[in-house]
Symmetry: C2
Subunit: 443 residues, 2 copies
Amino acid sequence: MINKEVYILKGAIMNTRFYNAKILTMAGNFSITEGELWVEGNRITYIGQSMNDNAIKLPNFDREIDVKGNLIMPGFKNAHTHSAMTFLRSYADDLPLLDWLNKQIFPMEAKINGEDMYHLSKLAILEYLTSGITANFDMYFCPEDVSQASIDMGFRTVLCAGINEFTGSTEENLNNLESWYQKFNHWNDLISYNLGFHGEYTAERPLLEGVAALSKKYKAPVFTHNSETRAEVEQCLRKNGTTPTTYLDQLGMFDYGGGGYHCVHMTEEDLAVFKKHNLTVVTNPGSNSKLASGIASIAKMLDMGINIAIGTDGPASNNALDMFREMYLVTVLQKLKEDDASAVPADQVLYMATVGGAKAMGLKDMDTLEAGKIADLIIIDLAQPNMQPINNITKNIVYSGSKQNVKLTMVNGKILYEDNQFYVGDDAENIYKKANEIINRLR
Amino acid sequence: MINKEVYILKGAIMNTRFYNAKILTMAGNFSITEGELWVEGNRITYIGQSMNDNAIKLPNFDREIDVKGNLIMPGFKNAHTHSAMTFLRSYADDLPLLDWLNKQIFPMEAKINGEDMYHLSKLAILEYLTSGITANFDMYFCPEDVSQASIDMGFRTVLCAGINEFTGSTEENLNNLESWYQKFNHWNDLISYNLGFHGEYTAERPLLEGVAALSKKYKAPVFTHNSETRAEVEQCLRKNGTTPTTYLDQLGMFDYGGGGYHCVHMTEEDLAVFKKHNLTVVTNPGSNSKLASGIASIAKMLDMGINIAIGTDGPASNNALDMFREMYLVTVLQKLKEDDASAVPADQVLYMATVGGAKAMGLKDMDTLEAGKIADLIIIDLAQPNMQPINNITKNIVYSGSKQNVKLTMVNGKILYEDNQFYVGDDAENIYKKANEIINRLR
């Protein structure tokens, strides 16, 4: 066994050998093997038994990491968030929903600019890295600034348009949407872009028809906030005579797939639409709990075979960007809702947080750990009291796991976080300073 | 400003100066001041403005710690747990409640001995320290072994008897209870003992009357599992014609105070009993969610002025021993239950997790930070992405906080945990090894 540890500049793309590891590939099952994993450039090139360097010629590794029996697994995919809202974290909590939104959030959001969003997104990315999140599905304004934050830090972002009646005329919105779709799908390896709009309740029919037409033109999926609150569904019923999901479906919005964020208040017919078009439900249990929106019917969706992904929602409404907390909430809220301690087992939750998210976000090569896939992976530290004894690692991750267990986060073959240190081309203290300056300026 | 950092053996009781700190004393309000805090021996001797060493003669400090603007606050009190059940963490999850209890938990519990409990309690204590917990209220067997684990690690434990019809005859149980009460209240500064029994549903009337008589004899409070599940309450109604709370009250069980663990299924009359006798509700939202027991009416109890404390319950049913997760659950589950995003504000939750717990556990000198009180305190690291920007620190702790933010845990004037390292007179790896050996032997 090679045991030299070659420390070179982290953050750079290089060839890395992880050995003496437990590996959860998530490729088809939840079994955990022991062995090693190689990364060459930004791709995984080998997963398997320990290699003796006398037996075969090993690649020229820049760094060889003794994983010490800890677990390598795919990075988590945060499948719904508004990263740049970090400035409003804990700014206005414990208020009734409408007061929170109308008196606190909207007026503050109106004051921030693209440069602010760049810095505020960077703050969110730091937090993602501490939670083992390797990609986010981000709906916010100023896609160029948000993208640049990810690119500069080496993080992976899938953008989703959030156009609505307040972001411009129908023509402006649709022109923006099409040009962003083209631009940000050819911008950088770390960035991709999905068609989307803020929600049925903030878009009139011409705008929605325009988005559906673009979906048809590009054969592209569409994502939106959907049925987050009871009031939203009731308003749509009054206005359109049907639920948001069926209304959008009638407009042809989901003919090429996509999905909905939240999906708390769904009818049987709504779920049938999701099933028919193979749409993803992105569940946000932390936000839905804190804002008293309700508990989505995840157990039922799972039974129906609907793809489920997990998102933190933005930091104004959660307030943490922590996939461990969200995973735990997904399952325990279902146990409460279904009055059944066996509802939504841990393995299923782990699938939603990794493969389910990657599927929604179009991250075909970043879902599981396999030779040929992109190296978006994390190491879970099992040598912590909350992971001991080693009875069942996947259940431990979901029921006991915490950010404290994230030992390393690698995105696109680069180590961006290791042993509580960031390697993101900027100093964390600088990013904190910027975020405080922004909120102090706006206050 | 003195800025030397004298590093001597941590874990020893010594004189420590914390300077350049934010301080949340919890003494009467939630305001945060800036300044310094001194610990001499095991007591806090000063909290206030920064002291210039030229102005007055400072005590002879063994260590001076630059807190760098982070937050000192009282340690969390884990007001209900069964620490030694660490061996069953993630051993049997996602099962219906009765299968879990009867087929998995009880048969395994029957196999462990006092030495096992010593090691398994130590594992739990490591986890408490990572979560900023400075004392636990522990109901389990073998009080001497459980106490010794705490004493050896420098941790504070309040024991609670868990006698029931399976732990001996009524006479044996009551003799044990009285002798333990006398012994463990004069054993060690770190240990105290409360009268208690497992639950109404595992005790016949003669045993309950015996406990009530001891409560009267010693003018001592009594604690027990109470109304955790609907089935438990229904069974008591069938058997005794009234709820567990009113039944126990009729026996005089609560004439000298005490309280109940869980208290999920409580009637108006039950709550009136709690109010009348100034009892504490120890809520366990993680366990109650995972086992699908239900959501306690915390918002209502709070409105009535009932003292509320927070417990993790044991690691078999939670599975983490993490006060941050419990605090978050306390408030968001109430927001869902009450359909009101303003239910149970963060400050109230922080009070339950510190002062409310100390009140229940009889820890009169370990509740708040004040000169003269015992130094059971923690430092919360604010220089982490989940705590930025600094909009509202107390809300941040409850809504975004995690174990990762615990920079230091001090119990009885000793630093037991600092910067991810334990100073507990034993190596964490040894404790993990013992726990794995125990479960592997029993499996």
